[in-house]
Amino acid sequence: MRHQPPGTLARYTAAARINHWIGAGLLILLGLSGISLFHPSLFFLTDLFGGGVYTRVIHPWFGVALLISFALLFIRFVRHNLWSSDDTRWMGALSRVLANDEESAPEVGRYNAGQKIIFWLMTLLILILFFSGLVMWDRCFFSYTTIEQKRIAVVAHAAAAFVIICIWIVHVYAAVWMRGSVRGMTRGTVTAGWSWRHHRKWLREVARR
């Protein structure tokens, strides 16, 4: 185990970090392979996966792997993502938070309301994508659904994929915007100053331990 630098707090264990980055990699692979079959102008992206046929073959397996990976992440993080009245008040102060003024927003625990919304949207969308994906997976499940159900599934799959890509952009942007956040998921630690600024209640809890 690595020595933890003084003045920092442990935020993510090595297992949680590896779990997160496996999921992140899978989500990117799914996004690239999926969007290549969604828009003809992006069909060239199938070359990344060995051509159209192999893209069609591998995409659902990425999906299965993501479901497993995300399920583990869900179990790890769900208890920190339960909604509270503070979160509702925090959302009321969202415009000030976006202007980098967090002092006037309620103090935040391990996750703020925005992070919790992303967590639950990711959960919901991955479930929609998984189940609509099964209906699209003709190789394995063609005979279980009607053609009309298959049509509904492709539209639901595309719509959910669109939303999750936008959510992914917001998630990545927010991590970069809130300077000092990315190291939590790479090195596993965050600074005392970062914790004071963004997750004050969590800082007190961790410091007490």
Partner: protein, 301 residues
Amino acid sequence: MADLQSLDIHRRSATDEVPPQIREEMQVAKLIDVSRCIGCKACQSACMEWNDLRPAIGEFEGSYDNPMELGPAAWTVMRFTEWDNPKGELEWLIRKDGCMHCEDPGCLKACPSPGAIVQYANGIVDFISENCIGCGYCIRGCPFNIPRISQTDRKAYKCTLCSDRVAVGQSPACAKACPTGAIMFGTKSDMIAQAEDRIVDLKSRGFQNAGLYDPSGVGGTHVMYVLHHADDPPLYAGLPKNPHISALVQVWKGIAKPIALAGIAFTAVAGFVHWMVAGPNEVQPEDDSKGREVIDTERRG
């Protein structure tokens, strides 16, 4: 008759470029006169023969339909319906099922692989197997439930309207083989004229609702039927009354594509603008000292 110009491509799947269109191309059509069909299946045999298709031998299921369904190696199937008409008489309705070669093909619209489905300038819709990735989207696009994915090579197959024969001035194998002349082939306008003659004849024989099946919901088809009961196409083993490309497929393959890409780009641009306006949210020196203070007090206390 048609010539090699028929290989000009009018529509190509997953491709937005303008096709060659300076030539006035003759539109072809197959006309199937259901009232003259005797159900001999010569068309099925000729199709297998010309296209080198050998569907697996199945089981008898108590029906004249053989095979029971279209398949990757059964591009046309006679569907037999025993119908008790309102006069209490039995009518044996026999429809040769297969690809209708829609003017606006749902399969082609749904296909994500560039050039896996094409529509030649003469109207024939053809699957170009080497470009097929086996996703099955054509099955979702088709209003007639025609394409079938092969379990052997995971590619989609359907009737080609014998595009290879038509390209050299021949009629499709099924039309060539039909012993009663129920299957006719020629230009679409000739076939419509032929159908009109047949409809007059059928009406004179008491089939008041005889008519041509050339459904406008898919822009017309290059395989048309003369039906004795054109007012009720579903009588003929579920032939759709008003086939059209599903609204779900229209949205998915139409407006959803630009909207989704624009939405994704907008989200990314919103991030850029936010960075320009609000800038990064940086930890300040006072945050550091207050944070350390909390750690020190809590740890001491």
